[in-house]
C-alpha cells in the first residue's frame, strides 16, 4: 500500500507546491460528485421536481409576450412572439440561476471550505453546471413549442453549442467574482438579486435587440448576455433575426475579460476564504 516513491509538497505562506491547474484536474472526480449531489438533492427535495423548471419559463414567456407584444406593441417580425421570447429565456434563465446559485455557493458549502482541502474553484463552478440540467429540461419544452408553432430551425442550430459555451463562460466569470466577493463582504448577498434584476432589464429577453437605436447597439453589446441571447435567437430561429457581428465580438471579448479577471480575483482571495467565511 505504501508507495516507495512518495510525493512531497511544501506548505509556505506563498502557497503549496502543487500547480493550480494540476490540482483542479486531480479533483475532477469531486467536481462531478458535487454536481451530482446538487442535482440529486434538488430533485429529491421538491415534490414537483422537474415540473418546476417547466412552469417557470412558461409563465415568464406568457408574461413577457403579453407585456412586450400586446401592451408595448413591439413587433417580432414574422416570428411568433412566444418563440422569440423563449429562445432568449433559455440562456437567460441559465445565466440568472447560475449567478444567484454560484454567488452563495461558498457560503452554503462553508463546511467544505473550512474542513477539507479542495480547489475552491470547483464549488461555484459545479453550482453553475447544475443549472445545465434545468437548461436541458427547458430546451425540451422549447422543442415542443417549436413544433407547435412550426418554427423549424435550419443548419444554424449547429452553432448553438458555441453560444451556450459563451453563456457558460459569462456565468463562470460573474460567478467567480460574486462568490469570492460574497465570502469577503457578506452584504454582497443582498446585492446579487438586485444585480440579476438589472441584468434582466438591460438584456434583450422580452424584445429584439434591434429595438435599440443603431448608434447605441455597440454600447449595448457590452452586456455579455446581449451577444449570447442574440446568438441563441439567430441559431434557433433560422437567421430570421440578423446577427450583429461587431456586437457579438464585443460581447465575446468582454465575456473572456470577465472570466479571466474573475478567475484572478478568486485565486487571489481564495487563500483567506477559510479564515473569513
Amino acid at each position: 500500500m505504501l508507495k516507495s516513491q512518495k510525493k512531497e509538497y511544501v506548505i509556505s505562506p506563498e502557497g503549496g507546491t502543487d500547480s493550480f491547474w494540476g490540482d483542479l484536474w486531480r479533483y475532477r472526480e469531486l467536481f462531478t460528485f458535487l454536481t451530482w449531489r446538487d442535482i440529486l438533492a434538488r430533485y429529491k427535495q421538491t415534490t414537483i421536481g422537474i415540473a418546476w423548471c417547466l412552469v417557470r419559463p412558461l409563465v415568464t414567456m406568457v408574461a413577457f409576450t403579453l407585456v412586450f407584444s400586446r401592451l408595448a406593441g413591439l413587433s417580432s417580425g414574422d416570428i411568433p412572439y412566444p418563440i422569440l421570447v423563449f429562445a432568449a429565456l433559455l440562456p437567460w434563465q441559465f445565466f440568472s440561476a447560475a449567478i444567484s446559485e454560484s454567488s452563495n455557493s461558498l457560503i452554503n458549502n462553508s463546511q467544505l471550505v473550512t474542513k477539507v482541502y479542495l480547489p475552491r474553484l470547483i464549488v461555484p463552478a459545479s453550482s453553475i453546471v447544475v443549472g445545465l440540467v434545468d437548461f436541458l429540461v427547458s430546451f425540451g419544452l422549447y422543442v415542443v413549442l417549436m413544433l407547435f408553432y412550426r418554427s423549424i430551425p435550419d443548419w444554424r442550430i449547429l452553432t448553438l453549442p458555441l453560444f451556450l459555451l459563451m453563456g457558460i463562460a459569462a456565468s463562470l466569470g460573474v460567478g467567480f467574482w460574486l462568490s469570492a466577493l460574497v465570502v469577503k463582504y457578506r452584504d454582497f448577498r443582498h446585492i446579487v438579486p438586485f444585480l440579476v434584476q438589472v441584468f434582466l432589464y438591460v438584456s434583450p429577453v422580452g424584445f429584439r435587440s434591434e429595438v435599440v437605436p443603431g448608434g447605441w447597439r455597440l454600447f449595448y453589446s457590452m452586456n455579455p448576455m446581449v451577444g449570447v441571447i442574440d446568438g441563441f435567437r439567430w441559431a434557433l430561429l433560422g437567421g430570421k433575426t440578423p446577427l450583429y457581428l461587431p456586437g457579438i465580438c464585443l460581447s465575446l471579448v468582454l465575456t473572456l475579460l470577465v472570466l479571466w479577471s474573475g478567475l484572478r480575483y478568486f485565486r487571489r482571495t481564495e487563500q483567506i476564504f477559510a479564515d473569513v467565511i
Partner: protein, 432 residues
C-alpha cells in the same frame, strides 16, 4: 524517514477585520479604510509605547517539530492554543503567515465528521460523496465499500436518506468512510468527541491498526485516555507556542493537566480582545477562585471552597441569557453542566447591561482526584449559542488532589467517576 517537517510555522489573524463577525460587511471595509487613512494622516492610533493597536492575534507562533514515518503523534492544549489551526495549515485549508512545512506522502484530513454529507441523499450516496470529498477516487471507494458499510453497522439503512438516521448512525457512517481512507498521513481533529462509547473504542482500535500498518497519524483530542493509548509521542501547545514535546506521553499530559501554565501561574482564560463578540454577552475571563475571587493555585483539595468565576459584560438585557459551564473528566466525559438560571426564576440574578462577575461554587467532596476541564458556556436559551459547546469555548483546567476524606481508610483516589462523601447511618436491629 521524516513524514512531516514543520519549520517555524506562524499564523496571524486580524481580529478587527476578520474575527469580529463572520464575513466583514462592505460598509466596515469602506469605513475601515477611511479610518486607517485618517490614522496615517494624524499618526494617531498608536499606543503609547509605539506599538500598533493590537487587533492581531497570533494563533501560532514559531512552531517547529518533526514527525517520523508511521509515528502517531498527539497534539494537546487548551482551546485556542492553536491545535486546530495547526491541522488546518497542514491540511492546506489555510495558509501560514510565516514558516514552512514539508509533507511527504499522500495526506488526508478528518477535521470534522461527515463533511459534505447531504441530508436528502441516501447512506450509499453519501459514502461516495464523502469519500470523494476526503480525497478518495471512485474506484477506491468502490473497492472498500463493503468494508465501510460493515464497519459502520448501518447496512440495512443503506438506501434510506440520512435525514432519517439517528445521530448515532449518522456519525458511525461518516466515521467509517473516514477511517477507510487510503493515505500515508492522516490528520484527525477531535472527531472522537462524538459517537457512543462503544463506537469510540472501535475507532480508536481502528486508528491504532492504521498506525501499525505504517501510517502516520497526527491526532488532536481532549480525550487524554485516547492520546495515551494511541500516540507514541505528544506535543503540548500553549497560546500558539509549542511548549513541550516528548515520547513520554504521560509526562506531556501531566504537564497539560497540572492546571498551571509553564510560568507557574494557575490556569485561567482571559479574553485577548475581540473574541466571542456578540450583541448580548462577552466573557472577559474564566478562572477557578476562592470566595474572594483570587485564583486558586493548583492542585486544589477536593473539600476546598472553590468557585468557577466568570467575568464578562452584558451589553443588553435579555431574559433568555444563560451563562454557565460544563465540566469534563480527563477522558472527555461530561461530568455535569451548571447555569446561573438553574434555580426557580425568581431567584436568578438579573443580568442587566453592565459588567458582572458570576461565581458558581463547585460542590465540595464530589469530584474524584484527577484533572478536569471546565468550559464556559453561554447561550440565549433555546435560541442560539453565544459561546458554543463544540471545541471553541474558553476553558481552564481544574486539578483535584487530596481532601477526599479524613478517614484513615480512604486516603487515595478510588475508582469511580465521582467520589462523593456520603453520610452513613446505622441502627441496631434484632429481627434479621
Amino acid at each position: 524517514m521524516t513524514a512531516i517537517r514543520v519549520d517555524g510555522i506562524c499564523k496571524k489573524y486580524e481580529l478587527g477585520h476578520l474575527r469580529r463577525r463572520p464575513g466583514a460587511s462592505l460598509r466596515e471595509a469602506i469605513t475601515d479604510s477611511f479610518r486607517s487613512a485618517g490614522r496615517i494622516l494624524t499618526s494617531r492610533g498608536r499606543t503609547q509605547d509605539g506599538q500598533p493597536p493590537s487587533d492581531e492575534f497570533w494563533a501560532l507562533s514559531d512552531v517547529s517539530f518533526q514527525v517520523e514515518e508511521s509515528e502517531r503523534v498527539g497534539i494537546i492544549g487548551r482551546n485556542g492554543s492553536g491545535k486546530s489551526t495547526l491541522l488546518k495549515i497542514l491540511s492546506r485549508i489555510t495558509r501560514p503567515t510565516g514558516g514552512r512545512a514539508i509533507i511527504r506522502g499522500r495526506a488526508a484530513s478528518l477535521l470534522e465528521v461527515g463533511t459534505g454529507f447531504h441530508w436528502e441523499l441516501t447512506g450509499r450516496e453519501n459514502i461516495f460523496l464523502n469519500g470523494a470529498i476526503l480525497g478518495m477516487s471512485r474506484a477506491e471507494i468502490r473497492k472498500r465499500f463493503d468494508e465501510i458499510v460493515e464497519f459502520s453497522g448501518v447496512g440495512s439503512f443503506l438506501d434510506t436518506p440520512v435525514k432519517r438516521y439517528s445521530s448515532g448512525m449518522y456519525v458511525r457512517l461518516a466515521f467509517s468512510v473516514a477511517v477507510h481512507l487510503d493515505s500515508d498521513i492522516l490528520f484527525v481533529d477531535e472527531v472522537l468527541a462524538v459517537g457512543d462509547a462503544e463506537f469510540q473504542k472501535k475507532c480508536l482500535w481502528k486508528m491504532g491498526e492504521m498506525g501499525r500498518e505504517g501510517r502516520t497519524i497526527l491526532f488532536v483530542s481532549h480525550n487524554m485516555n485516547a492520546i495515551e493509548q494511541l500516540c507514541g509521542k505528544c506535543i503540548l501547545l500553549e497560546k500558539g507556542r509549542l511548549v513541550m514535546q516528548s515520547t513520554e506521553v504521560r509526562q506531556v499530559i501531566d504537564e497539560y493537566l497540572s492546571g498551571t501554565d509553564r510560568k507557574g501561574t494557575p490556569s485561567s482564560w482571559i479574553n485577548s480582545g475581540g473574541e466571542y463578540s456578540n450583541p448580548w454577552f462577552t466573557p472577559r475571563s474564566l478562572s477557578i477562585t476562592d470566595s474572594f475571587g483570587v485564583p486558586l493555585p493548583m492542585p486544589v483539595c477536593n473539600d476546598a471552597e472553590m468557585y468557577v468565576q466568570i467575568e464578562g459584560e452584558v451589553h443588553q438585557f435579555n431574559p433568555a441569557l444563560k451563562i454557565g459551564y460544563a465540566i469534563y473528566s480527563e477522558e472527555g466525559f461530561p461530568m455535569y453542566q451548571s447555569y446561573h438560571t438553574d434555580r426557580p426564576e425568581a431567584e436568578w440574578p438579573r443580568l442587566t447591561s453592565g459588567k458582572w462577575v458570576l461565581r458558581g461554587r463547585i460542590p465540595a467532596k464530589i469530584l474524584n482526584e484527577g484533572a478536569y476541564r471546565i468550559e464556559l458556556m453561554g447561550s440565549l436559551h433555546n435560541i442560539q449559542w453565544l459561546i458554543g459547546p463544540k471545541g471553541r469555548a474558553p476553558e481552564v483546567i481544574l486539578r483535584v488532589e487530596r481532601g477526599l476524606s479524613n478517614s484513615p481508610y480512604w486516603t487515595n483516589r478510588r475508582p469511580g467517576v465521582i467520589a462523593p462523601m456520603i453520610d452513613w447511618s446505622a441502627q441496631p436491629v434484632n429481627h434479621l
